[in-house]
Amino acid sequence: MAMAALRREGSRFAPLLSPRPITAVRSSPLAPSHEDEGPIGVRYISTQVVRNRMKSVKNIQKITKAMKMVAASKLRAIQTKTENSRGLWQPFTALLGDLPSADVKKNVVISKGLHKLNSGPEKETKYVILGEKAKAQLIRDSKKDIELIMTELQKNPLNYTQVSVLADEILKNVEYDALRIVFNKFQSVVSFVPTVSTVLSPEIVEREAESGGKLGDLDSYEVEGGETKGEILQNLAEFQFSCVMFNALLENACSEQGARMSAMDSSSRNAGDMLDRLTLTYNRTRQASITTELIEIISGASALEG
């Protein structure tokens, strides 16, 4: 494919052997004329333009390479944290099960954007948005459904204290039956899976436990400590929420850095390819102008002689 492109460009420069290339080349430092028309109406490019283009592409390549390095180092730091935090939500899911389809009246969806969950009638869905990108996306059509917007989360590296404060804010301000956290789970640098985690409010947990099904054996658990079972379940739900949020935010950050790294990587590879093609073009132009100069000199000399 690259060979075909080169051939195409080669044919563009064949008419460099037309009469006026010297003036184009010589005058280029003063007046970079990109496209002169030769007598037959064909066009060619001066080396100055190609050189400028090469310089800018090289700069772009350097920038994207640097961005890739930055993203890779951030990814490495945050990936170990994410993998360590993966054990955090497993006990809760083991105890309380995973009910993405629990039928609730009020759904609160927390997301960093890029997902939109629709639900049927009678169920209201409110959004809590984390991050600027999500805000821009969802604010246009779901403006009245947005409860809270939180931005500038990436300023300090994520730690559990920060997330627990965040979770506290959300729990204080939002009434919910079920909280659904939507995030991208990091599987590898090139693959992220959208995932929905559900945290149910204590009342719904009671309801599901009574109706049997997945949470049926929750009642068989003795509850130690505290005054009432309800209080413990409430604490448990809040703790579960902050743990799941912590993991979700870390996974999201990992996925973001991974996506950034692969985007920058393909971009710098692209820039490298462009640079190769431009270098070939430049060399061709240069050699063609040298050849025409030689031809003129030699033909002039032979005219003098003979």
Binding site: Y160, K185, F239, C243
Partner: protein
């Protein structure tokens, strides 16, 4: 040409990888199919998002007789201290006091207060100081202990603990608002627990 080849390779490796994952995932249980159905009704073009249960290894079922060892998972937000470790007994600091958990313990949800968690394996005892959390004990003799912070007891510095205790007791006596009183009280509790952990 080479770029296309590398793109093709990347595509096959990711598809191979995703196929490998789908073989690890246990069959999605009945309730998830409700979710998938309602999703496909609303948005048929996108794949439904995954849920946490598809990323978790399924827990062992309740055995008919009491097993000999307790499996302990001790997790913190930034690390899994113990995962799937088979031990004889653990003692957790529940709000109602130190609670010993043996294999075959009744399923329990216990809220924890700051105190010592000790893990007994044969003749070794490992002690950690926890700053509150939850302990979930399941019927299949699996104990999940989730704490916000935990350190091995020998990492605690007695001098700093004494100083902290003195500071917080002073703050408690001079606290004016309810919030400050609550915070100071928490500080006093944690520090006195740490104190008894070092000495006791």
């Amino acid at each position: 040409m080479f770029r296309q080849a590398s793109r093709l390779l990347a595509r096959t490796t990711t598809s191979r990888r995703s196929r490998a994952f789908s073989s690890d995932v246990p069959a999605t249980p009945a309730q998830d199919s409700n979710f998938i159905e309602s999703w496909t009704k609303v948005i048929p073009n996108l794949d439904p998002p995954k849920t946490p249960s598809s990323f978790m290894a399924p827990r062992p079922a309740t055995p008919p007789s009491i097993p000999s060892k307790l499996t302990v998972n001790f997790v913190l937000p930034y690390a899994s201290e113990l995962s799937g470790k088979e031990v004889d007994m653990v003692i957790v600091p529940a709000t109602t006091g130190q609670m010993g958990v043996l294999p075959g313990h009744v399923p329990t949800i216990a809220e924890l207060k700051p105190g010592i968690l000790s893990v007994h394996e044969g003749n070794d005892v490992t002690k950690y100081f926890l700053s509150s959390g939850f302990a979930l004990i399941h019927a299949n003799s699996v104990a999940d202990i989730i704490a916000v912070e935990a350190v091995p007891v020998d990492h605690l510095d007695p001098a700093l603990v004494q100083k902290g205790l003195a500071d917080f007791t002073q703050k408690l006596s001079s606290a004016s608002t309810d919030l400050e009183k609550a915070e100071a009280q928490i500080g006093v509790d944690v520090h006195s627990a740490m104190n008894s952990a070092i000495t006791g």
